[in-house]
């Protein structure tokens, strides 16, 4: 995990994103315990309240669950939920923005598709 304190994004969102990313990449596997608030606070010198706020977002999103007295655990369908969420975000963040920029550049649909095909070949 890494936190960028200079970032314009609030720290608690960064905390949520970093943990989410770790779950998505499988660093915190399904059913496993994720590091405690104190551990994350300590390692990155972040206020425990901020870390907790970030974790609560993940709890609300149904990615992790609190087990009484034992800490936070990754829920079974967490990875799938993240995938779905990211697919939506992919459309919003990349596709729609790409089309806006493409229009600025005077590229039509076919031109974009051929560029995408080229991207797949080279990537």
């Amino acid at each position: 995990m890494q936190f960028n304190f200079d970032s314009s994004e609030p720290l608690y969102l960064q905390v949520a994103e970093q943990i989410e990313n770790a779950i998505f990449l499988g660093s915190f596997a399904t059913g496993e315990q994720i590091p405690s608030t104190t551990e994350i606070s300590r390692d990155f010198q972040i206020n425990p309240a901020t870390v907790l706020k970030g974790m609560n977002i993940l709890v609300a999103d149904g990615l992790i669950q609190k087990k009484r007295g034992r800490g936070m655990f990754v829920l079974e369908d967490a990875q799938e939920k993240i995938r779905t969420k990211r697919k939506n975000e992919f459309f919003q963040d990349y596709i729609l923005n790409m089309i806006v920029e493409a229009k600025n550049l005077g590229l039509d649909e076919n031109a974009i598709i051929s560029l995408v095909e080229r991207g797949f070949e080279e990537g």
């Binding site: 314009s8 720290l11 104190t38 606070s41 300590r42 390692d43 010198q45 972040i46 206020n47 309240a49």
Partner: protein
């Protein structure tokens, strides 16, 4: 802890003017201000090391003046050394425990190990860095509700600075209490500070949560004219320029009715940037 209209004069020179604030329980505060802004003076008044010229400090409703009960709820780790130079480290721990009952000896031993501080050395034999470390360790082990830290990482190397703040956060998580950290190295504490106290020219310029401060701090970047146009009438606290490119730093609400030109971008800024711009104003004013 409540501060009521604290002022401090040295002769005719006014160091602190009319400072009123209330410290919330279990909160980490960052006490920010440039050198000579009056941070140390304020901390010394809180702990009754020096008297205020006027105003009152109440701790749990009791005035702090020569009040052992009130003063026992607060510990100040200060740059000046008040411990006896001939006392050995472990003796200083014992002395402290005599007055601050509930001193955590176990934690103290763990910390001296982690920092590599030999407990049988005399205080006078310690380097500046290790004196800071010793005082920091005491501050973390003392069972007081309010811990004031005045430049706690003075003379510490990067590893020890990080270790100290790690331990601070951990003890805070274990036993929440109020910390007030005065430092000029803002990046180090940016992630921990929940509430900012900014002292400027002896006055309390800001007392707000970090979140709320950062939520209304922006940088507006783009071609000079466009930026000036967009930020006209807003609370611009500073700017950077690179040729024709200009960044205006705005503290406060942006005007939502204004149309943002394509060439201008608005971003959030971090605590350090906000601090630098808020405190630099007076220099410019001084030059005019």
């Amino acid at each position: 802890m409540v501060l009521n209209q604290i002022s401090k004069k040295y002769g005719k020179q006014e160091v602190l003017t009319d400072i009123s604030l209330k410290l919330k329980p279990n909160t980490i505060y960052g006490l920010l201000g440039r050198n000579g802004a009056g941070k140390s003076t304020l901390l010394n008044i809180l702990t009754n090391r020096i008297p205020a010229t006027s105003g009152k400090v109440l701790i749990d409703g009791q005035p702090n003046l020569n009040n052992d009960d009130a003063l026992g709820k607060i510990y100040l780790m200060s740059e000046p050394n008040l411990y006896l130079t001939r006392a050995k480290v472990f003796q200083i721990f014992r002395e402290t425990a005599n007055f601050y009952t509930g001193f955590d000896f176990e934690l103290a031993h763990q910390l001296t190990n982690k920092f590599g501080l030999n407990e049988s050395l005399r205080f006078g034999k310690l380097s500046t860095g290790y004196r800071s470390i010793l005082k920091d360790i005491i501050a973390l082990c003392v069972d007081a509700d309010i811990i004031l830290l005045d430049e706690p990482t003075l003379g510490l190397d990067a590893n020890h600075r990080e270790l100290f703040y790690q331990e601070l956060v951990e003890t805070y998580a274990d036993r929440p209490r109020t910390f007030v950290i005065s430092t000029h190295l803002i990046e180090e504490i940016a992630g921990m500070v929940e509430n900012v106290l900014l002292i400027k020219d002896g006055r309390l310029a800001l007392d707000d949560t970090t979140e709320s401060l950062l939520a209304r701090s922006y940088s507006v970047t783009g071609p000079e004219e466009k930026v000036r146009e967009y930020t006209a009438g807003l609370n611009v606290i500073g700017h950077d320029s690179l040729g024709k490119l200009r960044s205006d730093y705005v503290f406060g609400k942006l005007d939502e009715n204004r149309v943002l030109p394509d060439t201008v971008s608005v971003e959030k800024i971090d605590l350090q940037k906000l601090f630098i711009n808020l405190t630099e104003q007076s220099d410019e004013e001084g030059q005019k």
